[in-house]
């Protein structure tokens, strides 16, 4: 990677004022500029190994990702995702795990046929001072309908940034406490 395009700070890409542009510069892939990039880090007071193991078993993700209708594991690296979209619709795609470092990193990319192209990574790092694990999720995606699509999604609270924030909170709750916090009665409570 040419050094003159490197970001000149230590912040994660998602904290950049223009995240997708920073990603494009960092990777040298100019085409990334037209995508949306979001990210979020939480500290979870559990060991890295435990969190990685839970996440790597992809069918577990439905227990805290509110927006996922279903995840079907096809083989060791491929999975089929059905995700809720605005106005009661769903979107589906296949994802392939293209990089995996045990207890450190899971990275995936949607296949070429995906209607919403997306890629992402979840990183697990030891938190300082025995505080557990810092989990960083970063997602880059092609907003349906471009900016307008992202706005509409936001109005329905299906905007990926909001979803990721809430999903990571629920992941933390589930891993630390064994349950997902809710004030709803049983019928309306989040599934776990």
């Amino acid at each position: 990677m040419p050094s003159h395009t490197s970001p000149s700070n230590d912040a994660p890409l998602s904290a950049n004022r223009r995240p997708a542009k920073a990603a494009a510069q960092k990777s040298g892939e100019e085409s990334l500029e037209k995508f949306e990039l979001i990210g979020r880090t939480v500290t979870i007071a559990r060991p890295r190994e435990e969190l990685f193991r839970f996440w790597r078993d992809l069918k577990n993700l439905t227990s805290f990702m509110e927006n996922i209708e279903s995840i079907q594991v096809l083989d060791d690296t491929r999975s089929h995702w059905v995700v809720k979209a605005p106005a009661g619709q769903t979107v589906e795609w296949d994802a392939v795990i293209d990089e995996e470092r045990p207890n450190e990193l899971i990275s995936w990319t949607s296949t070429a046929e995906a209607s919403i192209k997306n890629a992402g990574r979840v990183e697990f790092r030891d938190a300082p001072g025995g505080r557990g694990t810092q989990v960083t999720a970063t997602i880059i995606y092609d907003a349906p309908g471009g900016k307008l699509g992202a706005l509409i999604a936001k109005l329905f609270q299906r905007e990926p940034n909001v979803q990721a924030r809430r999903d990571l909170r629920r992941f933390k709750q589930l891993m630390e406490t064994g349950e997902v916090s809710t004030a709803e009665p049983p019928a309306a409570a989040p599934r776990t």
Partner: protein
């Protein structure tokens, strides 16, 4: 069951609502025997706190008997008497492990945490009956309540002790105690307390137990000052004396070593988009209440300590940052880490070192809760604390 529900500004009603149910494994259901109206409930009554919904069940100071426990709760048993802290804390996150329970990162449901994260930079903790900013959890001014993470918060009370002696472990007693603890009291200290409501009165009592040489209490309601005096405080009626001058003179020109703001400000702008509205709504109080915090900071001695248990939610105008910095003051504040204090305070109650019953002026059946709110708001001199008894049928 019957429960006190919020319907709108100055409109609360006891209605029949669905019984609570166990939702998560660590939940418990409590049958309420005593439940108090808190001064901070009046902020809801006055609709100063945003994110209320019609039908929300109020109440965060309550106790009762365990009638059901979830399968993941290894601590509570059906039949036990418990007092429940108003703060809901998971016991396992970074903050709970540091005993900063009022900063618990997990108890506010994920979808409710966005608003306070926007307003304060980080999301607030879950609490009972206190708007959807703190989770939208049903409160305890009801016959029954669901208690999440009930293997962490509730403290078991031995049989044979009156509810009235221990009920306030749920909020105001630990709040007054932590307010005094935040003063880091040293021998010979004079502590000044602004506001002789329930929290101020408990702060006075706590400061004396924690070793303060003198406590000076400031209010304008004669009966509340009388209660402060009966606890051992010297009193100042701010309608009659110039408070800062009095404090300087009474402390030989040094000033109080620590100052407690137990008044707070009703201009609660709990979220960015509400701040302006609330500032506007509070204009009538605007010259009065921020005046308390300003006066606290000016009156405190050089190198002294300021403790703020009084509730603030938004922004403060004309904050004396110069006095704060130049005098080298220490400020400690925050919602109460109730779970940290309940056992020690229960012990002090059992030993007779703390009394809380003097505060209660009214005991009413739950059905009369709406009137309880009305008199607590309108007759502050005489109505010092209202306790509702759901099991008492009138």
């Amino acid at each position: 069951m019957r429960a006190l529900t919020w319907q709108g500004k100055h409109d609360v009603r006891v209605e029949t609502v669905p019984d609570p149910q166990i939702v998560n494994p660590r939940d418990a259901i409590i049958e309420i025997t005593s439940t108090a109206i808190c001064g901070s409930d009046l902020h809801l009554y006055d609709h100063y706190i945003p994110r209320m919904k019609a039908g929300d069940i109020l109440g965060h100071e309550f106790m009762g008997r365990v009638v059901e426990v979830g399968p993941g709760n290894k601590r509570l048993q059906v039949g036990q008497r418990v007092v429940v802290p108003f703060v809901i804390a998971c016991g396992q996150c970074f903050f709970c492990q540091k005993q900063q329970y009022a900063a618990c990162d997990n108890s506010n449901p994920a979808d409710k945490a966005d608003m306070s994260e926007l307003a304060y930079g980080y999301p607030m903790t879950g609490a009972f009956g206190y708007s959807h900013l703190t989770g939208g959890y049903a409160g305890g001014q009801a016959e029954y309540v669901r208690v999440p993470y009930s293997d962490v918060g509730p403290i078991v009370i031995p049989e044979g002790i009156d509810d009235d002696k221990v009920l306030f472990l749920s909020d105001i007693l630990p709040t007054g105690w932590m307010a005094a603890e935040n003063c880091m009291i040293e021998p010979g200290d004079t502590v000044a307390v602004w506001g002789c409501g329930p929290v101020g009165l408990f702060a006075i009592q706590s400061a004396l137990v924690q070793g303060a040489e003198r406590v000076i209490a400031i209010d304008h309601h004669p009966h509340r000052l009388e209660l402060a005096q009966s606890l051992g405080a010297e009193i100042l009626n701010y309608e009659e004396v110039k408070v800062r001058e009095a404090l300087v003179e009474m402390t030989g020109g040094i000033g109080p070593d620590a100052c407690i703001d137990a008044v707070g400000m009703e201009s609660h702008g709990m979220s960015i988009d509400n701040v302006l509205d609330h500032v506007k709504a509070a204009v009538g109080l605007g010259t009065d209440r921020p005046h308390v915090l300003r006066q606290v900071i000016l009156a405190c001695r050089k190198g002294g300590r300021v403790s703020i248990p009084g509730v603030y939610g938004g922004m403060a105008d004309k904050f004396p940052i110069g006095a704060l910095m130049e005098k080298g003051l220490t400020i400690k504040t925050g919602q109460t880490h109730v779970q940290k204090y309940t056992q020690d305070l229960l012990d002090l109650i059992m030993e007779g070192k703390l009394d809380t019953t003097f505060l209660i002026s009214h005991r009413l059946p739950l059905e009369e809760a709406a009137n309880g709110y009305k008199i607590f708001k309108e007759q502050q001199n005489d109505v010092t604390k209202v306790v509702l008894k759901p099991k008492v049928v009138h």
